[in-house]
């Protein structure tokens, strides 16, 4: 199924097509659960977020505009926002804003590309890998740690043994360069 077909499934779902929404779920849920597990480290919680995200997706499908974002981007944004809220709430409750290296519970590192049911094009993936290579390992790893594993600036800084400001700077400059590179 091509990218546009997933967009089409979501558009059909926005008109109340339950069968299309079931297909949309089947096409997107395994990839969403893969990154939710990496962010939340808890299958029960990750599946809860997947469930909540899909309910939100159905209820808000009418707002989806394929001219602004692909369906994958749209559902990923919904799921990541929810997962980040949970991650940050846990940390606020359990750590009372105080985090040090010993508190780092999350996995760090890049994940190898692997076949997913609906992978993005190889060209897109290759381009991202190329651009991450272009921005340097510090910025690339910091962005990966935050995006894939939901680590905060403080956690990344603690893990890399660098100042928080340095990590912030890497991420900010790295994102800017990454975007330019991907567009180039």
């Amino acid at each position: 199924m091509a990218k546009d077909d997933i967009d089409e499934l979501l558009l059909r779902a926005s008109n109340g097509d339950e069968v299309a929404f079931r297909s949309f779920y089947r096409q997107t849920a395994p990839a969403l659960l893969a990154f939710l597990l990496r962010m939340l480290r808890d299958r029960h919680e990750a599946e809860d977020v997947l469930q909540e995200s899909m309910v939100v997706a159905w209820n808000r499908a009418g707002e989806y505009d394929p001219a602004i974002a692909s369906a994958k981007t749209w559902i990923t944004t919904i799921a990541r926002r929810r997962a980040l809220d949970i991650l940050r709430r846990h940390k606020r409750q359990s750590l009372a804003h105080s985090v040090d290296a010993d508190d780092i519970r999350l996995i760090l590192g890049n994940d190898a590309a692997d076949a997913s049911p609906e992978p993005l094009s190889k060209a897109t993936t290759d381009r991202l890998e190329f651009c991450l290579g272009e921005i340097g390992p510090d910025a690339a790893n910091s962005i990966r740690y935050a995006y894939i594993y939901g680590l905060t600036n403080v956690e990344i800084a603690a893990y890399l043994d660098r100042a928080v400001g340095t990590v912030k700077s890497w991420i900010q400059r790295g994102l800017r360069s990454l975007k330019k590179c991907m567009e180039g």
Binding site: A13, G16, A29, P30, A31, L33, A34, L37, R38, R41, D42, H44, E45, E47, D48, L50, E52, M54, V55, V56, N59, R60, A61, G62, E63, I68, A69, T73, T76, T77, L84, R88, L106, I107, L108, G109, N110, D111, A112, D114, A115, S116, P119, L120, T125, L128, L132, N141, A146, Y147, G150, T152, N153, K168, I171, Q172, L175, R176, K179, M182
Partner: protein
């Protein structure tokens, strides 16, 4: 400050997507996201840029119960429950979403408050296992991550993600070891050179894991060390976090 000026909005959107904003700033940006199309576009733009890094992860099939719960929540197969019209305004939806988030949060909090027997019942019913892995990032001398090891002691296995493929021309295997508290190594298995793998832990490795917190990687002949300790050079070591 005009948050919607492009030179301000773009880095803010980046921090929002990565989740590196403060809690208060994130809540404020949630409002901007709900209210302004240009803010949403900036967020989607960053998300789209980074999307391949998560959409090409090895997929994980959800349990069948997830879809059943979604279908139940949405009333599928009963009376037709259509999603909102495409013409509904964002602020209205944002308000509804805020209520929903509060409701879900309350539900989550109540879940935490349930008596233990209820929690046990839930676990049995959903057939899910809640475990947190211990983690080690095995890096080379330049700090480049080579493998990430997720050690699930309760599940008696270690999952390996290859981050940077080791020398693809190597005719040897890389073997993973856990060092017991007294430094005695126990094999955890042969590391993959690409992709991902799950290695089942032997009783010897589990015993070492109960006292040790350091992983090591040695270069071995194909199939691994012929003896119960590294026969080749130990190339890398890495601590398990939170031991």
């Amino acid at each position: 400050m005009n948050y919607r000026r492009q030179e301000i909005l773009e880095p803010l959107a980046g921090r929002y997507v990565l989740g590196t904003m403060s809690w208060r700033a994130r809540r404020r940006f949630d409002e901007l996201f709900a209210e302004h199309a240009d803010v949403r576009a900036a967020v989607y733009d960053i998300e789209q840029t980074l999307l391949p890094s998560i959409w090409n992860l090895a997929p994980v099939e959800p349990s069948e119960l997830v879809w059943r719960r979604i279908a139940r929540d949405l009333g599928f197969g009963k009376s037709q429950q259509r999603p909102p019209s495409r013409s509904v305004a964002w602020p209205v939806l944002a308000g509804a979403l805020a209520v929903a988030i509060v409701a879900v949060s309350l539900g989550w909090w109540r879940e935490l408050q349930r008596p233990p027997e209820t929690v046990v019942e839930t676990v049995v019913q959903t057939e899910t296992v809640t475990v947190e892995p211990e983690v080690a990032v095995i890096s080379d001398e330049d700090g480049n991550a080579l493998w990430v090891a997720l050690v699930y002691e309760d599940l008696q296995r270690v999952d390996i993600d290859v981050t940077t493929a080791p020398d693809a021309t190597a005719v040897n295997d890389y073997e993973l070891w856990i060092l017991a508290g007294d430094g005695t190594p126990a094999s955890m298995g042969i590391l993959p050179q690409t992709g991902q793998a799950s290695l089942n832990l032997s009783p010897v490795a589990l015993a070492a894991l109960s006292t040790g917190n350091t992983l090591a990687v040695s270069l071995e002949p194909p199939g691994g060390s012929p003896q119960p300790a590294p026969s080749g050079p130990v190339l890398y070591t890495a601590p398990l976090l939170l031991r």
